[in-house]
Subunit: 68 residues, 6 copies
């Protein structure tokens, strides 16, 4: 299957901070380049996200802004 | 001023496709790494976005998903 | 791979309306239950979305509102 | 009044998990079909959301992705 | 019914620009204060949105950023 | 630099409620008019957001809905 979301980058989980409902996951997608995701803590648990795990970052084009 | 959005990457506009209301802007943020943004055509015009222009990509953490 | 997005429903494309940049795709996820997605026209083409095609609908929990 | 959001489904709250700021609300929209919403805990309290309460799920079309 | 979305402001439609799939609607929520919405053209038609029409603007808290 | 996000309003932080991962920030953008943002607690700390601080609220047009 292929996702409609236009932006997908492979990376490795660097850090996971879990709150009661939401968690903040930092993914290194290139040396020195991190992307931060705020997802539910249940998804962190369901996907077994932890430092070192391979993951892909997915971002819908309509969620991207530009600053020029 | 500094934006609360956690993800901000510098890049250069590679391509702009303008529709009546929405436009698709492709930004190269690293060699071979493109991020696609769907923003209003009025913003493209207001910011003068065109191929070659320096820009930053901005993404709120709550808009980022992971695939693991 | 498994997506962090909490809401994923299988369905069949019922209708595709393509604009220059954005497209509106209607997916039937259960008899009489349609979900409408606004995605880029390039994604519609890349995924080969057309009436009758099997697809899954994906929605991040932070994008869901309630009306009570 | 009618909302511009294209996707609206009636359902019944099945579970509420409240954090300090965000809450996760699971709504059953059809037998065996749940939709999960991440909304503010203040909204959960303001709307009186609790298991068994009738509610509608609302999702903007630009927030919907497809996987085909 | 009451929406979980935290931000709701009454206003009057000032301008509608319709594309094939998406439309841009400008709503005046206070003298000199406009909010721009990008919604589907089908929703513009379904709600009968046109200059002068009373409407409310609705924004989920997770979609709001700050610049400080 | 100028942001593509169409909606930007100056205001003053009125209240900050911090959870482990997410925070709720209330900004008064006009006398009696508040906008609520759900952003990461790390961004609240990084920007030094606290009651009384001048800030701007930023909202992408694709995140705005109408109720008519």
């Amino acid at each position: 299957m292929a996702l409609s979301a236009r932006n997908q980058f492979k990376g490795k989980v660097k850090d996971v901070k879990k709150g009661m409902v939401m968690a903040e996951v930092t993914v290194e997608v290139a040396p020195g380049v991190d992307i931060v995701a705020a997802i539910t803590t249940s998804s962190v648990d369901r996907l077994g996200l932890a430092a070192g795990k391979e993951t892909a970052v997915v971002i819908k084009a309509t969620s991207v802004m530009l600053d020029a």
